[in-house]
Amino acid sequence: MKNILYTLITLAVLAVIGCGEPSISEQFAKQEAEFAEVMKGHDDVMPKTGQLSKLSREMKNYVVNTPDMNDSIKARVNQTIVKMLDAEEAMFAWMADIKQLPELRKDKNHKEILDYLEEQEEVMEKVKKMTNESLAQGKEVWAGLATTVPTDTE
């Protein structure tokens, strides 16, 4: 009778321990879902990164080809270009730094990987904010310039 009791207790303890930790395949599935979420954020912002690049080049060309531009307008345009290029660089730097799951799994445990991906989501949020704000400012400044000198960029 005692033996049966001990066996049942042992099995119950093992079951509790086993249930506490997701299986490797469950961990991988969770990591892949989180990684996909990070990449979705990237994919949403990346088209705007392309727009930043194009608009900043157009504005640079405008400054070069408009030597008699008012100094305060010129300063505002240049400040906007810098802001747009900073946002573009933030995206490229993020893409160069982001670690893929196989690399992460070499030296991080499940929790560390999830923490890393959560951090990356936060970084991407910041990149998104920089991108949206600088692009909105760029469009506004560009629209102001376009009303003074006709261009073929619209």
């Binding site: 990449m39 990237h42 994919d43 990346m46 088209p47 705007k48 990164t49 392309g50 727009q51 690049s53 194009k54 080049r57 640079k60 660089e89 490229f92 893409m95 160069a96 982001i98 893929q100």
Partner: protein, 220 residues
């Protein structure tokens, strides 16, 4: 087992295998390859004073490839070439597009009339050494396949020129200059065809188009 039972059993087995075999559907999904007699010249065109048509032409360029050698349009004289834009750290589109560029490379590996030119759009990180490592990893070499870098504005400006005929959607997932397009340029620097480099079926058609350009009257 009488004849009726035997017939029903055999019929059921045949029906079961027929239902499981999706080759008919698969065959139906494969894009039909159109063998074109001639490829159009794409892009904007003007009419000269004498009435001749002036086609869109890729401007002069000067970049540096994975070996540190300067590559200009003169180095590609007499050849058609396939262009794409990428960057090494690209996490989503580029690996797929590069696989399709490899298909193009392999299909015309021994044909000296075609070259490939992959432009980085991240010259800050993709320097000559990085491009060399990338090319080596793919086991490809210049002058068949140039991976080029240069001044950022020069790279983006020529991207605008190539994509002026090939990009329908500036909100494509990769962005305007990173749409995953492959573009075919003829020996006169005219754009002749393009394909979505993330779509293997489109690239199959694209490879057929290159064949058309390189053989017979397809390039006229």
């Amino acid at each position: 087992m009488n004849f009726t039972k035997f017939f029903l059993f055999t019929f059921s087995v045949v029906l079961m295998f027929a239902a499981c075999d999706d080759s008919a559907n698969t065959a139906g999904e494969i894009t039909e390859i159109k063998k074109r007699d001639v490829l159009p010249i794409l892009g904007n065109r003007d009419v000269a004073e004498n009435g001749d048509t002036i086609y869109h032409k890729i401007p002069d360029f000067k970049f540096v490839n994975q070996n540190g050698d300067t590559v200009t349009n003169a180095d590609l004289a007499g050849k058609a070439y396939v262009v794409d834009f990428f960057f090494i750290s690209c996490p989503t589109i580029c690996p797929k597009v590069t696989q399709q560029m490899l298909r193009v490379h392999d299909a015309f590996k021994n044909n000296d009339k075609l070259a490939l030119v992959a432009h980085t759009i991240d010259p800050k990180r993709d320097d000559v050494a990085a491009l060399k490592n990338y090319a080596d990893a793919l086991e490809v070499e210049a002058p068949k396949w140039h991976f080029v870098t240069g001044e950022k504005d020069d790279l983006y400006e020529i991207a605008d020129d190539y994509f002026s005929v090939a990009v329908e959607n500036p909100d494509a997932p990769g962005g305007f200059d990173h749409s995953g397009r492959l573009i075919l340029i003829d020996e006169n620097r005219h754009v002749r065809a393009f394909a979505n480099g993330t779509n293997p079926d489109e690239v199959t058609q694209f490879i057929a188009d290159i064949e058309t350009l390189l053989t017979g009257d397809g390039g006229r």
